[in-house]
Amino acid sequence: MNNTIRLLIVLALFSLAVSGCRSAIATTTEVVAVQAKTVPAAPTDAAWNNAPEHPAKLLLQDLVEPRVMKASTAEVRVRAITNGTEVAFRLEWDDPTKNDVPGPARFMDACAVQVPAKLEANVPDPQMGGQGKTVEITYWRADWQASVDGRPDSLKEIYPNASINGYPFEANSLEKGSAAQQEMATRYAPARAVGNRRVGAREASVEDLIADGPGTLSPAPPAGSKGKGAKSDKGWSVVITRKLPNGLAPGVRTQVAFAVWEGAHNETGARKMRTGWVPLLMKGAEAK
C-alpha cells in the first residue's frame, strides 16, 4: 500500500468520525433563547441555525398511572428564539412513523412545552405542576397539523373505503347549511356540541392549557399560540410559538419542560416521554 492510499484511508476515517458525532452543532446544557427581530414560524427556517441546540433527555412518565414502562423516544433536540414578546421553540425528535390519523387504538404523535405560570424561586413540580403551582402548557398534535395543512374534516380521510348510507343531518327535509341542519349534525356529535373540538377543522395545530397537577389539564384562555410541524423520514420537527411566559424578559431565567408522545407506541395523555425542568435563558442581557 503506498503512502497516498494510506493518507486517503486516514482522511476517510477522520471524516467519518467527524460526521458521526454532532460536534458541528453547538449544544448547551440549558435552553438558550436567542434574540431575533422575528420568531421563525417554519421548522426549516434558516434562523434556527443561529440558536444553540439543547439535547434534552426524555424520561419515562413513571410517576402516575397510567405510566409508560418502556422507553420510546430518547431525546428531544430543542432550540429557542425570542423577539421580546414571543418565544418560539423548535422541538426535533427521531420518529420513523407518522401517526396523524385518529381512530380506535390509534394515537397521535405530539409534543408539548411547559413553563411555570409564575416566575418564582420555588418552581412547580415538573410533572404537570401541583396545587396552587400552576404550569402553562402549549400542546401540538400531528393530526391537528394535518387539519391545518388542509386535510378535510371527513370520515373518508380516516376510512377511505367507508360506505355510508346516510346521516340524519343529510335528510331532504333539512335545508343545507341551515341552523336546523347544524343542530341535527351536532345532536349526534356531543363533544362538538359542547365545544370540545378534539379533532376536525381548526385554525391552529396547538392548544394552550394549564394544569395544577396530574389529571387537572384544562384549557387556558386563548393566548394565540402557534404551531407548525413537519415530518421527515428521520422524525418530527415542530415549532411551538407562544407569548413570553409571565414575567419573563430578556436576561431572565426560568424553567421549561418538554414532552413527546410517540403514537406508534400508543402514547397518549399520561403515557408519554418527558423531561424534568430544563433551565431556560432568555438571551439579551446578563442573566439575573
Binding site: D62, P102, P104, A105, L155, A189, P190, G195, G269
Partner: protein, 387 residues
C-alpha cells in the same frame, strides 16, 4: 387503591377510589331465554343516539350470539385469558349458599403502571357485528343440524346475549380515566363520559372489560351508553327496553343485598330469588345489568359468564310455571314503557307500580288462550297458520 365491598364477590376488593354508592342505582334484568336477537333494541339505540359521523361502528346496545359471537371481536375471551384462575368457594350459612371469589379482579391484577388489567380493541375488531352469527352454515338436510350426533364435536347450542353498559358500581372506565372525565351520577348511578372534559386518551376503552366505551374518530372523544338518562329522569325505561319486542328486559333500581326489598322487582329477582345474575362478576366491577341465564346451555360455560349461582338460577327459572310470584313478575317485563320500581301479585294478576305505590300497569300472569278454528264460518274461508 382503596378497599371496597363487592357483594357479588362476597368479599372486599381493591378499587381505585373509595366506596361511594349512589343514592339509587340503575339496574336491569335481561331474560336471555326470551331473546330472539331481532336487534330491535340495537336499532332503537342506534337511531336515538349513535347516528352521527364517527359513530357508525358504535353499538351502545348489541346482541351477540354466544359462544361464537362477540362485539368487539373476542372481547370477553381476550380478558379471560389474561385473568388468572377464576375460582369461587362455597359455604353454607343459615341454609343459604354463600359464594366467595377467590381469584383476582381486573383491579387486583392490574400490571405495573396500569390502573386496571385491560386491552384495547383495534378498529378491525369492530368489523363483525352480529350479521348472521346464528345462521346455519350448511343445508339442514345435508347434516348441518345442531342436534345431529356427528356434530357432537361442535358445541350444539347457542344463545343470545344482549348487552348494554352495565353502569357498574365500580366502573373500570371511570377508574381508568387519568383526568376524571367519567363520573357516576349520585342520583341514579348512571355512568357518563363528560364530553366537555374528555380528551380522547381511550384509557376507558382499554379499561372497560365489557368494551362498552367507544372512541369517536370524528369528535376525538370516547362515548358510551347513557342508559337513556333523559328518559329515566322522566320515569320512562330506556329505548332498548321500551322497544324490545321479546319483552326480555326490565329496568329499575337495585339495593344492596342487606337492604333488598321484596316489592322491588330487581331486588326480588336478583337478591331474593337469585334468578338473575351479573355478567362476569369475577372481573370485580359489580355490574348492574343482571341476566337470567339460558337454561339449555352447559353450566360450565354459563358459570364462567354469570358466576356460581347458575345452577340455582336455572332450577328456579325452570320451576317458574309452578311459582306464581316469579311467573307473575316475569309477566311484567315489557308490559309498560314506564319504570316500575315496585310490584305486587294479586291472584292471577300482577301489577307494576311507581315508588309512591300508584299502579302503572296490571297484567294477567297467563294470557287467555284462544283457539282459532281452521274454518271461519263468518267469512266462509279456511285459514291456516303460517309455519
Amino acid at each position: 387503591m382503596a378497599r371496597v365491598h363487592n357483594w357479588q364477590l362476597g368479599r372486599e376488593m381493591s378499587y381505585w377510589y373509595p366506596e361511594s354508592r349512589p343514592n339509587k342505582q340503575f339496574a336491569a334484568v335481561f331474560d336471555t331465554n326470551k331473546c330472539i336477537a331481532c336487534q330491535t333494541c340495537t336499532l332503537a339505540c342506534k337511531t336515538t343516539w349513535t347516528s352521527g359521523v364517527g359513530q357508525e361502528y358504535m353499538l351502545w346496545n348489541n346482541v351477540e350470539t354466544k359462544p361464537y359471537g362477540f362485539y368487539p371481536l373476542a372481547w370477553d375471551l381476550k380478558l379471560l385469558e389474561m385473568l388468572d384462575g377464576q375460582k369461587w368457594s362455597e359455604k353454607e350459612y343459615e341454609g343459604q349458599k354463600l359464594h366467595t371469589y377467590e381469584g383476582q379482579t381486573i383491579f387486583e391484577s392490574a400490571p405495573a403502571g396500569e390502573r386496571v388489567l385491560g386491552w384495547r380493541p383495534e378498529d378491525q375488531d369492530y368489523a363483525y357485528p352480529n350479521v348472521g352469527e346464528d345462521d346455519c352454515s350448511g343445508q339442514v338436510d345435508g347434516g348441518a343440524s345442531y342436534s345431529l350426533q356427528h356434530m357432537a364435536q361442535h358445541m350444539a347450542w347457542f344463545y343470545y346475549l344482549a348487552r348494554i353498559c352495565n353502569h357498574c358500581t365500580y366502573p373500570a372506565c371511570l377508574a381508568s380515566c387519568p383526568r376524571g372525565s367519567i363520573y357516576k351520577r349520585p342520583e341514579d348511578g348512571i355512568v357518563l363520559v363528560d364530553q366537555s372534559r374528555c380528551r380522547g386518551y381511550q384509557e376507558c376503552v382499554k379499561g372497560c372489560p365489557y368494551k362498552k366505551v367507544f372512541f369517536n374518530s370524528m369528535t376525538g372523544t370516547s362515548e358510551k351508553c347513557i342508559a337513556c338518562f333523559p328518559k329515566i329522569e322522566q320515569g320512562i325505561q330506556p329505548q332498548c327496553f321500551e322497544n324490545c319486542i321479546g319483552k326480555i328486559r326490565l329496568a329499575g333500581f337495585i339495593n344492596t343485598p342487606d337492604k333488598a326489598q321484596a316489592d322491588n322487582p330487581i331486588d326480588y329477582l336478583v337478591h331474593i330469588r337469585k334468578v338473575a345474575l351479573p355478567l362476569f362478576p369475577q372481573l370485580g366491577l359489580e355490574p348492574n345489568v343482571y341476566y337470567i341465564p339460558p337454561i339449555h346451555v352447559p353450566h360450565s360455560f354459563t358459570k364462567q359468564m354469570f358466576g356460581p349461582g347458575v345452577d340455582d338460577a336455572v332450577k328456579t327459572y325452570r320451576n317458574a310455571p309452578n311459582d306464581p310470584d316469579l311467573q307473575g313478575l316475569l309477566a311484567l317485563f315489557g308490559s309498560s314503557e314506564q319504570m316500575m320500581t315496585r310490584w305486587r301479585r294479586q291472584g292471577d294478576f300482577v301489577s307494576g307500580m311507581k315508588d309512591d305505590g300508584s299502579e302503572v300497569v296490571r297484567v294477567p300472569i297467563k294470557e287467555p288462550v284462544h283457539v282459532r278454528q281452521p274454518y271461519d264460518r263468518l267469512y266462509q274461508i279456511t285459514r291456516t297458520n303460517c309455519p
